[in-house]
């Protein structure tokens, strides 16, 4: 059935002089207008989506990659990337857990991940392990009862094109930045969440439970809309290391909170960081932005960033509605040769808006960790309030910790505070722990966890426990 459809589509292509092998689900590497059209066609998208993608693509051609970040990486060849590959068939994956890299399994064990989930994470064919599909279906029924829409982006485009058209690109426009524009042109899939008026979402939504969540690909797009008076908590990613062959990731997340709505977005990112020598690893360039459109709305970002060779990510909040609130809690860890340039933007526009930024950076090995943030108070933002704290912990003499906070205040009633500190773990703290019989490694992980506590307590409970363990694993071998 699917093959037949693909054949149809591919055959149509020939009239544009576009050639592709029928037996493969992936498009040839490289990016051109034809590829963009092809992606849209394969996904059977309505006209407005194609036009939007094309506008993005044409604009992307005029752009150059940003160079301001404190990151060093070799130039990315955008023509060598495969921009679309259909979800891999189950037969590609390992047949059973025995075939999975034992090193990976060991990590799973340390993180305390249940066996059936281990299989899923490692990409073992689903029917060979626990049937997670049924779990997901039960959740779906429960959500449908209260009217919450939670589905893949492709599904949303088919089923709710009006909603998608109304909100897509309203927070992160297609011209936003190099990577967001690229994403707009070629994004393959992602999540779509719509919480109707006055509904409190009955459970934490997680990509975990979404069918087909596993292979959303490297250009992911998420859109969350919280109508008046609604509430949703969304979890992205998971604590277990994800095996992924795509080197470049450029995702976009858009959040929209209307009057009195609340969105809580938590991320745990633990993609392949490269090996001890800094070879390989994921390049993660993400644009995340939320708009507090309504009065008394609230958007809260929590992120635990431990993976990826390069992290370029600034979850932001535009505080348009009066009395709206933006929050950003972040722990970013860089070990070995990892580099992270991450932070947030809080744009105060409405009256009596307030924002809180808590950022904890941990550097070990040869890691380079930068906090880059912007707090902007527009002339209209009467009585805006911001509190920023960004602390860095240094665990080796070869790592780096950097802070680049921008503060722009155009309203005299604003109160903006910023505090930051950088230091290593105190010898006395270590000594105290060691003297009470803790090993050096346990002592360090205890202190690191204490350092991050302010952020962890913003995470949903189960996640927080996993996140703590994740830090321990990520820091393994960095203290001696």
């Amino acid at each position: 059935m699917a093959n037949q459809f693909l054949k149809q589509v591919v055959n149509k292509n020939y009239e544009y002089g576009f050639v592709t092998a029928i037996e493969s689900d992936a498009l040839p590497p490289g990016l051109s207008e034809d590829i963009v059209r092809e992606i849209s066609r394969r996904k059977n998208e309505p006209e407005f989506m194609l036009n939007w993608r094309l506008k993005a693509y044409r604009h992307w051609l005029t752009m150059t990659p940003p160079e301001w970040a404190h990151l060093h990486y070799s130039e990315i060849d955008y023509q060598s990337i495969i921009y679309y590959s259909a979800p891999k068939s189950k037969t590609d994956g390992p047949k059973s857990l025995d075939e999975v890299d034992p090193k990976l399994l060991e990590t799973y064990k340390k993180l305390g991940i249940p066996l059936h989930e281990q299989g899923k994470l490692a990409g073992v064919a689903v029917d060979a392990v626990f049937d997670s599909v049924s779990v997901a279906t039960t959740f779906k029924a429960k959500l449908a009862e209260v009217g919450v829409i939670f589905c893949s982006f492709s599904e949303a485009v088919q089923k709710y094109p009006d909603l998608v058209e109304k909100y897509l690109g309203t927070v992160v426009p297609y011209r936003d930045n190099f990577f967001a524009t690229l994403n707009s042109a070629v994004f393959s899939d992602g999540s779509f969440v719509y919480i109707p008026k006055g509904v409190r979402c009955p459970m934490e939504l997680s990509t975990y439970f979404r069918i087909n969540a596993a292979n959303t690909g490297q250009f992911e797009r998420t859109l969350i809309i919280a109508e008046e008076g609604s509430y949703v908590s969304y979890l992205e990613g998971c604590t277990a290391p994800m095996r992924d062959e795509n080197q470049l990731h450029a995702a976009v997340v858009e959040l929209i909170a209307l009057d009195n709505a609340q969105i809580k977005y938590s991320t745990v990112q633990n993609w392949y960081p490269g090996d001890e020598e800094g070879r390989g690893g994921i390049f993660n360039f993400v644009t995340k932005r939320g708009a507090c459109r309504g009065a008394h709305s609230k958007i809260s970002w929590t992120q635990i960033e431990t993976g990826s060779a390069i992290t370029w990510k600034y979850p932001s909040v535009i505080l348009q509605g009066d009395h709206s609130i933006g929050e950003f809690y972040s722990v970013a860890l860089t070990n070995n040769y990892q580099q992270a340039d991450t932070g947030t933007k809080m744009i105060h526009i409405g009256k009596n808006t307030s924002s809180t930024i808590i950022s904890k950076g941990i550097s070990a090995g040869f890691g380079q960790n930068s906090y880059r943030g912007l707090v902007r108070v527009a002339p209209t933002a009467v009585n805006a309030r911001n509190y920023t704290q960004c602390d860095s912990l240094l665990l080796s003499s070869t790592c780096g910790a950097h802070t680049f906070p921008y503060i722009e205040v155009k309203n005299s009633t604003a109160q903006v505070e910023h505090e930051a500190s950088t230091s290593k773990i105190g010898e006395d703290q270590l000594f105290y722990c060691r003297q009470r019989g803790l090993s050096a490694e346990d002592a360090v992980s205890m202190i690191v966890n204490g350092f991050c506590k302010q952020v962890f307590r913003e995470l949903p409970m189960e996640f927080a426990v996993e996140a703590q363990k994740l830090l321990e694993v990520s820091l393994e071998g960095s203290v001696g």
Partner: protein, 435 residues
């Protein structure tokens, strides 16, 4: 640099070639020529550049500037600018050119060199050549390169080994003309175990619409102590662009205090290199913006290159009317610079709804055994404190002044020389009485 602005038309060949000041010395002439080419190749910085993001220099292209000269007699008016109630060594520059008549160096110890650049080249050529041909990064400091290319005059101060100068050295730059461009270069050297207190002051004596471009180099040799103070009270339509380069050897101490009260556009870059171990540096600034469209931009960077350095950077400011203050502080800690202790702070007081503050306190840290912290605030006067004063029958205007002065005192009160402190406070008081 394709992002650079078009070269301003006043910076044409004839303007640059007309500097005949150092023409007797071919070495200087060649150096200036080279610097000129470097600057022309780079061009004026634009807002697209990170370091000039908040400061628009486009107006410079449309302006016309002329060569400076001493025309007006300022013997009477200059008196008021002297440091009161204290003896001082005084070097006066009118429109950027040294005036022997107005200067007073009678209190100078015999072995201390303190003179204008022309004299320095005549009498101490060997010594000054060691410092004056320093090449700066043109891209980072375009105006230091421009300064080198145009160099009108300046001072050379050299404190020999084991000499303590207790008398403050007052370098006074007074501007009396319209549309002039002055490029002063000051070189301050404290040799081993020497100490000096310096006040560099830029003021207006009838001058309008002028452009002051000044570079001050400070060299603190081992065990030396330099207390450097700077007052910028240019005419409110003038442009003041300054660079202060501090180079410290081991066990030296440098304290700088900048008070910025004037100029329509004031930009100051402080660049401190802690080259050797056990250095101490304290960078302080206070700015008071009192006029519409006044724009003060402070950039300060401390480079901890060697271990065991201590640095403190505190900038505070008050903004009135439609003014704008920019601050960018940076602490850079090299891998070697273990046991660095550094503190950085920028506090802003916004007294007007139209004012704007853009501040960016940065860290770049590559060592691990460090203690670095910074704090930043933008806010208003404490309503409770104001209420307290008002409830005790103090007029609102006076109460505001009291609180604002207390805010300033935080920075200025750590000035060690009482005469300089009084001098600065006096200028600050004038700001209040202007209202």
């Amino acid at each position: 640099m394709n992002a650079a602005l078009e070269t301003p038309h006043w910076l044409n060949e004839s303007f640059i070639h007309s500097r005949d000041f150092f023409d007797q010395c071919p070495e200087v002439r060649d150096f200036q020529k080279k610097q000129r080419d470097l600057f022309l190749a780079r061009g004026l910085p634009t807002k697209r550049e990170e370091l000039w993001k908040y400061t628009d220099l486009r107006f410079l292209s449309n302006r016309t500037f002329v060569k400076p000269s001493i025309t007006m007699d300022v013997v009477q008016t200059i008196q008021a600018k002297h440091i009161q109630n204290s003896a001082s060594v005084r070097l006066v520059f009118v429109n950027g050119l040294f005036s022997e008549k107005l200067s007073d160096v009678s209190l100078l110890p015999e072995d201390v060199i303190c003179c204008d650049l022309k004299t320095a080249f005549k009498n101490h050529a060997e010594k000054i050549k060691k410092f004056i041909f320093e090449n700066v990064d043109t891209n980072r400091f375009p105006f230091a390169t421009l300064n080198a290319a145009l160099m009108t005059d300046g001072i050379f101060l050299y404190i020999p080994k084991h000499t303590t100068m207790n008398v403050p050295i007052h370098i006074l730059f007074a501007n009396t003309e319209k549309n002039i461009l002055t490029a002063s270069r000051n070189i301050i050297v404290a040799d081993e175990n020497a100490q000096a207190t310096i006040l560099e002051e830029h003021c207006e004596l009838g001058g309008r619409d002028y452009f002051t471009n000044v570079v001050t180099d400070i060299y603190a040799q081992p065990n030396s102590r330099i207390y450097y103070h700077k007052i910028q009270k240019e005419s409110l339509d003038a442009t003041h662009i300054a660079e202060i380069f501090v180079n410290q050897k081991h066990d030296s101490l440098v304290e700088t205090y900048s008070l910025a009260l004037g100029a329509q556009l004031g930009r100051e870059d402080v660049w401190v290199n802690l080259n050797e171990h056990h250095t101490e540096s304290s960078i302080n600034g206070f700015y008071y913006l009192s006029e519409n469209n006044q724009h003060i931009d402070n950039h300060a960077q401390v480079n901890h290159i060697a271990p065991l350095g201590t640095s403190k950077m505190v900038y505070k400011g008050v903004l009135e009317k439609k003014s704008r203050a920019v601050f960018n502080g940076k602490i850079y800690v090299y891998t070697n610079a273990q046991k660095t202790v550094s503190r950085q702070a920028n506090y802003n007081l916004m007294l007007s709804p139209d004012a704007e503050v853009d501040t960016k306190p940065e860290f770049e840290i590559y060592a691990d055994d460090v203690k670095c912290s910074h704090g930043d605030t933008v806010g208003q006067l404490d309503a409770e404190a104001l209420f307290f004063l008002r409830s005790r029958g103090i007029e609102k205007k006076i109460a505001l002044q009291m609180l604002t002065r207390a805010f300033a005192a935080d920075v200025l009160n750590s000035i060690k020389n009482p005469a300089i402190l009084a001098h600065m406070n006096h200028l600050l008081n004038e700001m209040f009485s202007d209202d």
